[in-house]
Every structure is written in structure tokens, then in C-alpha cells.
């Protein structure tokens, strides 16, 4: 035990030093000699905002709290990136707000009514009859899940 502690004590100052070192990712580490040609080709890092968000002002995040879209691989705990400005495309997953609750469904136009469909066989379609109000809240653009 004592030796372990001694070894650790020797390591701590090094760790401290590492913690306080400033690391500049983009500068050439070469202090002398020729800098590598590669440093002229540095590109911006990956920006997930750019990747996932087309319209920043109309994009919102929602937590998935149910398994009604299990057929699409969307499960409780996933995170949805939803754009309110996006126009729905064919087969799009839409967000509706019904009686104060958010629900994610596909929309199917049928004779005389529309149906809100889940992709989990345990969930029955929700029928919206003519004259009943249905407001689309947004369109699901991405699903983020943690493995």
C-alpha cells in the first residue's frame, strides 16, 4: 500500500501539470523545423447544430415518453428534433398536441375522417372526425438515441 501511495504521489504533480496545460488543437506543435503541409488543410470540427438543425428558430427538442412508434425504432428515452416550420412530407412522423399532451403519429387521410397512426400494434389509430380540430405542432426531423 505504501509503495502504491508513493507511486501515486509521484504521479499527482504530473497529472496536475497535465490539467493545467493549455492545449491548442489548431496550432502546429512543431516548435522548430518546418511545419507540416497538413496544417494548411485544417477544417472546422463536426458541428451537430449544423448537422441536425436547418431552422434554428423553429427547432425544438422533445423527450420520447412512450413506445407508440416502436415499429420505427423509436423508444422511451429517445430525443426528438422537431421543426415547426417544416412542411410534412409523405410518411412523415408528426407531432400533435391534443388535450395538453404531445403525441407522435403518422397522418392518414381516409374517407370522411383522418386517422393518426402508431407503428406499434398495441396502439389503435386515433380517429379525427370532420369538424374536430387537429393542429399539427411540428415535424420530426431526427431521433437521437443513446446506446
Amino acid at each position: 500500500m505504501k509503495t502504491i501511495n508513493e507511486q501515486l504521489n509521484k504521479l499527482i504533480p504530473i497529472a496536475e501539470e497535465l490539467l493545467h496545460m493549455e492545449v491548442d488543437l489548431y496550432a502546429s506543435p512543431v516548435k522548430a523545423g518546418f511545419p507540416s503541409e497538413a496544417y494548411n488543410y485544417i477544417e472546422d470540427g463536426i458541428d451537430f447544430n449544423k448537422l441536425l438543425v436547418k431552422s434554428k428558430e423553429s427547432t425544438f427538442c422533445l423527450h420520447v415518453g412512450g413506445n407508440s412508434l416502436s415499429g420505427d425504432g423509436i423508444f422511451e428515452g429517445d430525443l426528438l428534433v422537431v421543426d415547426k416550420l417544416e412542411e410534412p412530407y409523405e410518411n412523415a412522423i408528426l407531432i400533435f398536441s391534443i388535450d395538453g399532451e404531445f403525441t407522435m403519429k403518422r397522418l392518414e387521410y381516409r374517407q370522411g375522417h383522418v386517422a393518426l397512426l402508431s407503428s406499434n400494434p398495441e396502439f389503435e389509430p386515433i380517429i379525427i372526425n370532420e369538424g374536430e380540430e387537429l393542429k399539427r405542432w411540428g415535424v420530426v426531423k431526427y431521433v437521437i438515441k443513446k446506446f
Partner: protein, 419 residues
């Protein structure tokens, strides 16, 4: 042409975006400390709840009609406001961020014949993109645009867009507008005008220019010109940096303990200093004020303020809190129940213009690095995620916000749930 776009019952509408069970129900939002109504849904207005009505005055109406009541959720409203302004700026090169829920837009580039269409597109985009319904008034001057906006809201036929583009429409609008509803005419002026029989905006424009200048100064004259269709007030695209920054709040309950009051004052100082750093400024002095509740005339009254000059202009929270505390200790007297404390940063100069001081023993570079870490952490994880211990937990003094909704748009744990 100019546009004035604002959110309809903005704070209430922000709550409704994330809670559709509020649709069609009377809803109000209360001011700081849950004191009075500062936003009302149409249903709440219809119940007779007035703007600024004290909660206790309307408590009965609230209970009998099941009015939904919310505390002010500044984080949510500020985020929704940014979204609204961002969408609006897609339609104009020049936008003036006039208040949290309204903006002036310069439409000079838009063809007059398509302006109504264009306006409808603006309203559609913002309403759909944020979920907050907005109204837009368009006219040759800012004052008239403000007036047109009222009509856009009032008459459903306009579909939230009202354009005043002919003299005929302008005169009609003026005749239908009470003089007290003109932007730029205060309560005292409008009373003075009414005493003279000037009741509508149209009556006001019929007064002679010299009379208006004589009795209502150049400000009144400017409004008079604008109502006649002559633009006098430009759209100011960039808000000038603030010359002073003030943060003050009433306590949740009255306080007599200096240390608790200091905690609150340190917390406001820290907010003010963060704002100061955001505009890359440094303050040379700080004003601290402290007061008892003026409405409690049964209690002994005391109010005082002090200005503390700092040796070197700074924006370090730690340094400013040190001088703030000195000031607070100077004005604090025992034996009073205090209701409010506040700080004001004064003599603000830009960071680059700070002059050193020969006997300065503060490690300014170190302070700067620490402040940068605090700011970036708080930007990422929310206000006060990282703070100085002197700020305390606010248990004793924080404002009452009993009916606060979640920060749906900015805090991960508060994102709405979808099933």
C-alpha cells in the same frame, strides 16, 4: 414602409405553445413575486381582469372561473422572443428589437403592391415557426405602424395583418383611434388633450403644428408629423450599449438580516456583472440602494443609497461584489424591515479603455479567465450553475414564483414529453 410585429398576449401564448390544455381557457401570467397580472388571455380579459390588476383583487374571479395562473418564466419568454425576432429578421435587413414581444421592421425594399401578401407570409412564418400568434401593422411611419397593429389584432378580417397604404385608410384609422392609444403620447398629455376636446388621433392631427410644439415639445411634434405620414423616427437596428446596468428585486418576504440581504445583493451584482461582460464593458463605480416597504406606513421607513468608486474599472464579479459589500455595510441600519435591494453599475467604458493603477494588486488576467469559465458554464448549463459561494442559495430572499412552468425550450430536463 415600416412594420410593427408583436406577439398576441405574448407570455400567455408562450405557455400555450407547450400546454394546449390552456387553449380556450382564461390564463394570466403574474409579475415578479406573483404580485399582479402582466399578461392575460382574451378569455381572461373578457372576465374583466385588468392589466396590472393585483392578484388579491382578482383572486375571487380567478377561483370562480378556474383561471389558470402562471409566474413569469423569464427564461422561456426570452428564448421564444429570440426565436420570434430571428424569424422576423428573415424578412428585413433592418430590424429593431423594441421590446421582449415586439419589433419594428424596415420594409423599404418591398414592392407596395405585394406588401399585404408579404405581411401575411411574415405572420404565417412566425406563428407556425414558434407557435406564438403574432400581429403585424404596416404603414409609412413607425407611429402609424403601431396604430395599424392595433387594427390587425382587433378585426379578425385582417388575418393579423393591417396595411395603411393610402390617405383614406390613414384618416379612417386616425378617426377610430383614441388619443390615449397613440404611441408616444403619455397619460398626462392625453388628459390635457381631452380637456381641450381632442379625443381621437384625427382630432390631434387637426391641431396646428405650432400649438403642438408649444404645449407638447418637439416629441409631441414628431408624433404629430408621423401621424400625418411623414417619417421622423428611424428604425434603430442596433441597440446601443448600456451606459448603466441595473438589477434590483423585491424580496419574497421582508428581511432585517444584513448577511441575507448581502446574499441577495451579491446575486444581483453577479447578474449585472455578467451583462457587463457580455457587452465587453467595465464599470468604474457601483451604486447600491436599500429600502423598506413604502406601502407599510405602520412600520419605520428607511431608504438610502451610496456610490462606491472602484480604483480600476472592472467587470470581475468578485471584485465588484467586494465594493458592493463595502457600500451595503455603509448604508445598512439595524431595526428596519427591508423590502428591496438593488445595484447599478455606472461609468461603463469598453474593456479596451481601462486604465491601470499603480498600486493595483489584483491579478486581472486570472480574474478574467475565471469569469470566462463562469460565463461559459452558465451559458451551457443555465444561470447560476456555477457561482460564488457568497451568493448563497436564495432560500431567504428569492422572489416567490410558485406557479412557474418548465423551461421547455432551453433545459434538457424540461423538454416536453411526447407519447
Amino acid at each position: 414602409m415600416y412594420g410593427l410585429c408583436d406577439g398576441n398576449n405574448f407570455f400567455v401564448s408562450c405557455e400555450r405553445v407547450f400546454n394546449s390544455s390552456l387553449d380556450g381557457k382564461p390564463v394570466i401570467v403574474l409579475s415578479n413575486n406573483d404580485g399582479c397580472a402582466i399578461a392575460r388571455s382574451e378569455e381572461a380579459k373578457a372576465l374583466g381582469i385588468k392589466m396590472g390588476a393585483n392578484y388579491f383583487e382578482v383572486e375571487d374571479i380567478i377561483r370562480r372561473n378556474n383561471v389558470q395562473v402562471f409566474s413569469t418564466n423569464f427564461v422561456l419568454y426570452a428564448d421564444m422572443s429570440m426565436r420570434m425576432k430571428g424569424l422576423l429578421s428573415r424578412f428585413t435587413p433592418k430590424l429593431e428589437d423594441y421590446s421582449i414581444d415586439e419589433a419594428f421592421l424596415d420594409f423599404s425594399g418591398v414592392d407596395l403592391s405585394t406588401l399585404n401578401e408579404y405581411g401575411l407570409d411574415v405572420v404565417r412564418t412566425v406563428t407556425q415557426g414558434t407557435g406564438v400568434p403574432v400581429s403585424l401593422g404596416i404603414a409609412p411611419t413607425k407611429t402609424l405602424a403601431k396604430l395599424a397593429n392595433r387594427f390587425a389584432k382587433k378585426y379578425p378580417g385582417y388575418q393579423n395583418v393591417c396595411v395603411i397604404d393610402t390617405d383614406e385608410k390613414r384618416i379612417k384609422a386616425l378617426r377610430l383611434t383614441d388619443v390615449s392609444d397613440i404611441w408616444g403620447i403619455g397619460r398626462r398629455s392625453s388628459q390635457k388633450l381631452k380637456d381641450r376636446g381632442v379625443n381621437t388621433a384625427y382630432d390631434f392631427t387637426q391641431l396646428s403644428r405650432s400649438w403642438v410644439r408649444k404645449h407638447m415639445t418637439v416629441i409631441g411634434e414628431r408624433t404629430w408629423c408621423e401621424l400625418l405620414g411623414e417619417p421622423c423616427i428611424e428604425v434603430e437596428a442596433i441597440a446601443p450599449d448600456k451606459q448603466s446596468i441595473m438589477v434590483s428585486r423585491s424580496f419574497g418576504k421582508m428581511l432585517d438580516d444584513l448577511e441575507v440581504i448581502k446574499e441577495a445583493a451579491a446575486s444581483y451584482t453577479s447578474m449585472a456583472a455578467a451583462k457587463l461582460r457580455k457587452q465587453r464593458g467595465c464599470a468604474k463605480s457601483i451604486l447600491v440602494f436599500l429600502e423598506t416597504n413604502p406601502f407599510r406606513d405602520d412600520l419605520p421607513q428607511y431608504r438610502n443609497h451610496v456610490i462606491v468608486n472602484m480604483p480600476v474599472a472592472t467587470n470581475s464579479t468578485m471584485e465588484i461584489i467586494k465594493y458592493m459589500s463595502e457600500g451595503l455595510y455603509k448604508i445598512f441600519r439595524t431595526g428596519f424591515n427591508y423590502k428591496k435591494v438593488g445595484v447599478m453599475l455606472l461609468d461603463i467604458i469598453s474593456e479596451g479603455a481601462v486604465q491601470g493603477y499603480l498600486w493595483d494588486n489584483v491579478d486581472r488576467a486570472k480574474h478574467k479567465r475565471l469569469m470566462e469559465i463562469i460565463d461559459s458554464t452558465n451559458n451551457r448549463y443555465g444561470t447560476n450553475s456555477l457561482k460564488l459561494a457568497v451568493l448563497g442559495d436564495g432560500e431567504q430572499w428569492k422572489i416567490k414564483q410558485r406557479r412557474l412552468s418548465p423551461c421547455y425550450t432551453t433545459r434538457t430536463k424540461d423538454f416536453p414529453k411526447v407519447k
